[in-house]
């Protein structure tokens, strides 16, 4: 193959990598081997060969198409996203705000004198009021909490799988083992061997509101869940504002905080407002239909303020509840003593919610962890 073409393709791979796609040397080798097999003057065929060897997720197709247009067709195109979305700009609190907050801490300081340790204070502090340092401390506390939890029976709701494992009091015969043991006794099974079904963690689907004031709570909750389930395996995470986006793969391995902030920029319009109903519909249409929700525990984090018609929220919650094993709604506003679920969206959703929790500080997240380890269907709180 012409060396120029090889260089061209390798550079194209780098462009894709910089845009955030995973393009390893193996994929590049496949692309080149593929191009060797076809007539490279046919642009359409070149497109398919590159796409099929370099892309492995539907989510990346749009990005690939834009890169292909820009690189091979020299067409003007919008800048390749994803990477620049990850450049994080952190908003610093204004000085005045900070002072006000310190005054508040002063008040709580009195409580500390009455026997509250600094950690204990932090555990009761509303997530939205944490500053940078405190957030870091809280993250550490979360990790500690997760470590303290009993690991042997990992504290997550489990369900019976169809998989079998050797067990001395199981219910199904372990025929392979039995047969071997029977050899010695001429075909009589003197010793018996059994297998039993294993229990596996239930899938956990998190759908969190990252618009405006909700972002701080969603961030804390996602960090918490990831600390709790360690690897993040079996947790599917979605973020929404005016639109919905899937975060599962972004949260794996990378800095979850950055991933959430990037998501917020993608799904929140500056015009403000949250479209809970439309976002839930998008979720049900795309992911519920593919049975992602079936048998899962679904956790929704939102204050329930719907910008548009609340009846859509009710309808989509009904669809969601039909498929899920249980639905938990976390609303930080519930942490305030005189909160009433009056917001239209929240009222419409409540009939389909099994557990309604606060989740505005560490203590309430501990409660959530407790609930997650033992929730059963249909008992609205």
């Amino acid at each position: 193959m012409a060396e120029a073409l090889v260089r061209h393709v390798v550079t194209f791979g780098r462009v894709l990598r910089e845009a955030g796609m995973e393009v390893g040397p193996g994929r590049l080798a496949d692309a080149l081997a593929g191009l060797d097999l076809i007539d490279i003057t046919r642009q359409e065929d070149v497109y398919w060969v590159l796409r099929q060897s370099l892309v492995s997720r539907q989510e990346d197709l749009e990005l690939f198409d834009r890169a292909f247009r820009a690189w091979f067709l020299r067409a003007p195109t919008a800048p390749l996203a994803r990477r620049d979305e990850l450049q994080v700009v952190r908003l610093e609190r204004k000085a005045g705000e900070r002072k006000g907050r310190e005054a508040a801490t002063g008040e709580e300081g009195e409580e500390a004198a009455l026997g509250w340790s600094p950690d204990e204070l932090l555990r009761h502090k509303d997530f939205a009021e944490l500053d940078r340092e405190e957030l870091e401390q809280v993250t550490k506390l979360m990790a500690e909490m997760a470590r303290r939890r009993p690991t042997r029976r990992s504290r997550r709701l489990r369900r019976r799988s169809r998989r079998l494992r050797r067990h001395h009091r199981g219910r199904e015969l372990d025929m392979r083992r039995l047969m071997r043991a029977s050899l010695a006794t001429g075909g009589d099974a003197v010793e018996r061997a059994f297998r039993q079904r294993v229990h596996v963690p239930r899938k956990l689907v998190v759908i969190c509101d990252v618009s405006g004031s909700m972002e701080a709570y969603s961030r804390a909750l996602v960090l918490f869940l990831h600390a709790l389930v360690r690897s993040g395996r079996g947790v599917e995470t979605f973020a929404f504002g005016t639109r919905l986006t899937r975060l599962t793969s972004e949260l794996r391995g990378r800095d979850p905080e950055q991933a959430l902030q990037a998501a917020a920029r993608r799904v929140v319009d500056w015009s403000g407002g949250t479209r809970i109903g439309a976002s839930l519909k998008a979720f049900n249409d795309e992911w519920g239909r593919r049975a992602l929700t079936r048998g899962a525990v679904v956790l929704i984090v939102s204050d329930g303020w719907e910008r548009e018609d609340a009846t859509l929220v009710g309808r989509e919650m009904a669809r969601l509840a039909r498929q899920a094993y249980a639905v938990i709604w976390v609303n930080p506003l519930k942490g305030h003593p005189d909160y009433q679920p009056l917001a239209g969206g929240m009222r419409a959703a409540l009939p389909y919610v099994d557990r309604f929790l606060a989740g505005h500080n560490l203590v309430s997240l501990e409660e959530l962890a407790e609930v997650l380890s033992g929730i059963e269907r249909r008992h609205a709180a």
Partner: protein, 292 residues
């Protein structure tokens, strides 16, 4: 049959009764030539499984299908020992001793799809359907099999297909993200819904003798449905079933009444049926009937 180019693949698939778009023909061609498994994703009903069957017809090869489900294990995917035969064999030997090698020999082996595909002396097409339904542990196991095309049975040894690798097609509905390692092994193709022209062509192929006008109108109607926000947009499979029903009823073209009566074979969800009725339905029928 040897396939030398994308054009040849396209032609062969057509002759085998499957109308691919250029992308799918390219994907199948590459997968054969590079000897790499092909991962197919796409909405329900776009013909993922059909593509594997068509490939088998093209190659004149046997199709071996492994349908995945939660809890699928080695005993059901690869092999199992025939315990009742083993037991009878021990009994029949009476006082004579039975050695372990004898008992765990090839004649007592029940071959499941993966072993069958690896062991087959002829080339086969191995379809691993809905891989996303299997457990992650199974996926890891599968990764091993797909890397070196060999299976080890402790009692017998290693069985390898290195010199006649099966053509492997995997399908997924994306209910969960597959491991990157598995994806790296595979070429990837996303099958979208077909264009109007191609859908008409598919309907005419699959419903022999269908009136030209009916095929066109039905395809156009379904294409319009896909643009609505439905819980489950209909796939090509639905278009075919529906047109088949309409043709069986002796229809020459669509009208509001017959569409209303038969829409249940296109839309499978109650809320979708509720969303498409009255004016919406009339409008769609009118648009479908309007000449190009």
């Amino acid at each position: 049959m040897e396939i030398g180019s994308i054009d040849a693949m396209e032609r062969a698939l057509r002759e085998a009764g499957y109308l691919p778009d250029r992308g799918l023909a390219t994907a199948l061609f590459l997968s054969l030539k590079l000897e790499k498994p092909l991962l197919l994703e796409g909405e329900a009903g776009v013909g993922k499984t059909e593509a594997a069957k068509a490939l088998a017809r093209v190659l004149g090869a046997r199709l071996i299908r492994l349908q995945c489900y939660e809890g699928l294990d080695v005993a059901h995917a690869v092999y199992e020992w025939n315990y009742s035969r083993q037991l009878l064999h021990i009994r029949a030997a009476q006082e004579g001793t039975v050695s372990e090698e004898e008992l765990f020999g090839p004649e007592f082996l029940i071959r499941r799809p993966l072993l069958e595909a690896i062991e087959s002396p002829d080339r086969v097409v191995l379809l691993i359907d809905e891989i996303d339904r299997a457990d992650e542990e199974f996926e890891a196991f599968l990764l091993e099999v797909l890397s070196d095309f060999q299976i080890t049975i402790p009692e017998i040894g290693t069985i390898s297909a290195a010199d006649r690798k099966p053509a492997v097609i995997l399908t997924s509905n994306r209910t969960r993200e597959l491991h990157d390692a598995l994806k790296r092994r595979c070429l990837y193709h996303w099958i979208g819904h077909p264009t109007l022209e191609r859908e008409v062509e598919i309907v005419k192929l699959k419903v022999p003798g269908v009136p030209e006008r009916l095929a066109e109108q039905a395809a156009r109607f379904v294409q319009r449905l896909r643009r609505l926000e439905l819980a489950k947009p209909p796939g090509v499979a639905e278009t075919i079933d529906w047109t088949q029903a309409l043709a069986a009823l002796g229809r020459q073209e669509l009208d509001a009444e017959i569409v209303e009566q038969t829409l249940g074979s296109v839309l499978k969800y109650h809320e979708d049926l509720l969303a498409v009725r009255d004016e919406t339905l009339l409008e769609l029928v009118e648009e479908a009937r309007a000449a190009r």
